[in-house]
């Protein structure tokens, strides 16, 4: 099965085909062309290419093409022999630390590490001195020189496998070290070793050609490709093909081993594999919403926002028409389970989604400007850079590890507010102080890895405060933090809003965080808003069964702890396969045939609340929501 997978790839096919040809020539070359390669034609010394002699003749009038074919055997045999030496020695050295005592093992590993630092050619030359000039000496030299690299690889692999449970189990069961190695470890590292040996053989072939080319390898009257090249180089003016012909043979044979190795590696799942994403033509999305005009007086107004991820089979509609507004100074929360599209909504609003993910909207108005309309990118950058702050989920990875924290903050002021390096840095220090980072001058000169998680998140908020933000988009800002630190970060956000009057769009899966911080809540499910209501009403007045289930799933002071905690039955909808009708129907205790057939529209109440449910506000059957086995 694996073999067929290897062959089906073009690389594997080319590699195997080439390797088969090379091996065939190596095995049968001397038999088929041996005589012809030895015929001396004194009338045709150093001839150029002709019908008779495809790449001409050498200084004794012998046919070079035949000689290249005949040389294949010696070249390949020597390369394989050297590879075998490297591999055997490498496995012994690499596995030894596992068998011998700890101290000796460390010594071996250290020795291997020292040797690996020297380039192969240098080691080859060193050993070539010891073993002397000639084919046998060269094979030993190349073999020994390749051993450290194999030993390193083998050691790494052995170390990785040794951590696995079954090895530990075998050890505890009293199986001897040698037996563990032979029966359990080696079979598990055989695949990568063979793959590497195949690729190494290609390299060894080239090294060997180099040695013979230098006159340190195969000696006359024997010849391999390197030797033929050496002979050819002297006559390169008269007869360039004499040197290039064997050179091409070396490269083809080397490629054959390399490609085969890479194809194996790909088939065994070693190394990189490239995923292919099919690009889709813009889909004509089903637009069920009436096109709403941008809401006047809102800092952010989003109309029918759609986010589509092109997939291998069909595009995933992760956000399916979302309309909402955030008024000046208001805090709006977006809650929902993972995969509900809430984070993508936030990123789309911040215009941070890249190709190939597609963002469409009727309008996306921020601070009076439609971000979907385009316009001058330079001025847009400047305005967004100073008035829209974004706080990301994971503070550990959201700072650039290569730069100090202060300059990362200062960048905003330098590039959007035209401050000098020094002035921008001073402002960064000031902003770090504003987000309650102690010793801000010192901290600004540190790298992110010297900050704790909570500090980084505060610094990230501080980065948003470099300008004068009118809106802060915070995407799960507390999810990656400890509970005590979460509280500090939320308080800081609230304080920042008080001080700057900025609005907040807070994305969270945590209902209690949103109720604490926000004025209004949007509940998202399967890429749509299913309910919108004041945060204060969330626990008591929610009308959508999903919202009510979300709230019920959060334990509070009145939760009866003698009963199992409530959970929402079933699994979130797979965004690639959204059913007809209401997406929540399959998990909803109230769902009937209409729910499963007709998607409920998002309807506004006179008070401005919105809900998308055919059964909005109907009483839930108590047993199904609260108890799940």
């Amino acid at each position: 099965m694996r073999a067929s997978r290897v062959l089906l790839r073009p690389v594997g096919f080319a590699g195997f085909g080439l390797l088969a040809v090379v091996l065939f020539v190596a095995v049968f070359g001397p038999v088929l062309w041996g005589d012809r390669a030895a015929v001396v034609e004194t009338g045709n010394l150093l001839d150029g290419p002709s019908a008779e002699h495809w790449i001409g003749t050498d200084n004794l009038g012998r046919d070079l093409f035949s000689r290249v074919l005949v040389a294949a055997r010696l070249s390949i045999v020597l390369a394989l022999a050297a590879t075998a030496i490297s591999m055997v020695l490498g496995i012994v050295l690499g596995a030894a630390p596992m068998l011998v005592g700890r101290r000796l093992g460390r010594l071996i590993t250290a020795g291997v590490n020292v040797l690996v630092a020297f380039p192969g050619v240098l080691l080859v030359l060193f050993f070539a001195v010891i073993f002397g000039v000639g084919a046998r000496g060269a094979a030993l030299a190349v073999g020994l020189a390749g051993a450290p690299a194999f030993a390193r690889l083998c050691h790494t692999l052995v170390a990785a496998v040794s951590e696995r449970d079954y090895i530990a189990a075998a050890r505890i069961a009293g199986v001897s070290k040698i037996r563990v190695l032979v029966r359990h470890v080696l079979p598990n590292i055989a695949e990568p070793l063979i793959v590497n040996a195949t690729m190494a053989a290609g390299g060894v072939l080239l090294t060997f050609a180099g040695l013979s080319f230098l006159g340190l390898g195969v000696q006359a009257p024997d010849y391999d490709w390197g030797k033929l090249m050496q002979d050819g180089l002297n006559g390169i003016y008269v007869h360039p093909l004499a040197a290039l012909g064997p050179g091409i043979a070396v490269v083809l044979a080397g490629l054959a081993f390399n490609l085969t190795g890479e194809a194996f590696a790909a088939a065994f799942g070693i190394g990189e594999t490239s995923g292919r994403v099919r690009r889709e033509a813009p889909a004509t999305a089903d637009r069920e919403h009436a096109v709403a005009a941008p809401e006047p007086g809102a800092v952010l107004s989003v109309g029918d926002l759609r986010v589509t991820i092109p997939g291998a089979q069909n595009p995933i509609r992760a956000v399916r028409g979302v309309t909402f507004a955030v008024r000046d100074g208001e805090a709006v929360g977006v809650v929902g389970e993972s995969g509900s599209g809430k984070s993508l909504t936030a990123l789309a609003v911040a215009r941070l989604i890249e190709q190939p993910i597609r963002v469409e909207a009727d309008h996306l108005v921020f601070a009076g400007e439609d971000l979907m309309a385009g316009g001058d990118p330079e001025s847009l950058r400047k305005r967004l850079g100073t008035s829209l702050a974004v706080v990301f989920q994971d503070p550990m990875t959201s700072f650039n590890p290569a730069h100090r924290v202060g300059p990362q903050l200062a960048e905003v002021s330098r590039f959007h507010q035209g401050l000098s390096r020094r002035a921008a840095f001073a402002r960064a220090v000031d902003r770090l102080r504003a987000v309650k980072i102690r010793e801000p001058e010192r901290r600004a000169r540190q790298y992110p890895f010297e900050f704790s998680g909570g500090m980084r998140q505060r610094a990230m908020i501080g980065m948003g405060l470099m300008g004068t933000p009118r809106l802060i988009i915070a995407d799960e800002p507390t999810t990656a933090l400890d509970v005590t630190v979460q509280r500090q970060v939320l308080e800081l956000l609230a304080e920042v809003r008080r001080d700057t009057g900025a609005a907040l769009l807070l994305i969270s899966h945590d209902v209690s965080v949103v109720t604490d911080v926000c004025d209004r809540v949007l509940v998202m499910y399967a890429g749509r808003i299913v309910e919108e209501l004041p945060a204060a009403d969330l626990r008591t007045l929610a009308r959508h069964p999903y919202t009510r289930a979300l709230v019920a799933a959060v334990p509070d002071m009145e939760t009866d702890l003698t009963r199992p905690l409530a959970v929402i039955p079933g699994l979130p909808v797979d965004p690639a396969h959204i059913p007809d009708g209401c997406a929540f129907a399959a998990r909803c205790p109230l769902a009937d045939d209409r729910c499963r057939a007709v998607e409920p529209p998002l309807l506004s109440s006179p008070a401005g609340d919105r809900v998308a449910c055919h059964k909005a506000g109907q009483p839930l059957p108590a047993d199904t929501v609260e108890v799940t086995a």
Partner: protein
Amino acid sequence: MKSPTAAAVPPVAGLWSHRWLRFALRRTGRLLASLWVLVTASFLMIHLVPGDPVRAALGPTAPAELVLAHKEELGLLDPLWQQYGDYLTRLLHGDLGVSITSRLPVGETIAQRLPATAELALAAFLLSMIVAVPVGVVMAVITRHGKGRRTELAFTGTNVVLGAIPDFLFGVGLVYLLAVQTNVFPVAGRDGLDSYVLPVLALAIGPAAVLSRIVRVEMLAVMEADYIRTARAKRLTPLRVHLMHALPNAVTATLTLGGLLLSSLVAGTVLVENVFAWPGLGSSIVSSIVSKDYPLVQGTVLVYGVGVLLINTVVDVALALLDPRSAIGES
């Protein structure tokens, strides 16, 4: 609070220098250990040669007295540990011995030839870096997220083929194309700037191919990182995001590999020098191996080895400065 930051710095500096000190000590220790291995190996080389090395060097017809005299001169008649001691003492005084064939001090020969080799390796390294980094970055940008499939395929294909061709073969090919066929550059020797072109190209093409592939893969990985999204959230220009935020993080891996490439370039000069009759260490080590001039071989191997060790150390220090975690995080 308006006072300069100096007041706050000392505790940090103390902590930092402590970490840096540990890094420096560890790195120096490793360098010394490697040097010891290298020196010992080069000392043992002459003793590991099967048979009588002096007899082998002087040939079967050389009179016995001459062989004995040479052995005396090389100290080969002393006990092994004493020879080792003498060898180390001489090395500390910069004395690498005398060549058996030319009777010249080995140090002199090497000093004469080292610049040619160093120039070649350095020029090739710079060229491959200068070519590989921009090519890798540009390829990463235009082939990101499955864009430009054909460009990517052509790029990878070219790279695999170029990476599979050994440098001396490029040398032969270049000689054929640019010297024999078109007569643009000199075939061999080191005389004038144009004589550098072919050997440097021959050395640089392979590493440039490998390196640009690595740069691309690294850039693609880095472009997916959260901090790149942060940089975009700051609304920096794409150019600045790529160059200031992505590249420094991709460079760590590039530099590690580049260091390896530089040390393998040093070794690659051996072959390329022989193609172009370049008057460097590479030509002399091969001829001295063939003529069994062991003192010269020992000295040359030592110089190559020290060169490689120094390069590795410089790369490690550069890495530590660029990415402090690599220095401090390492145990």
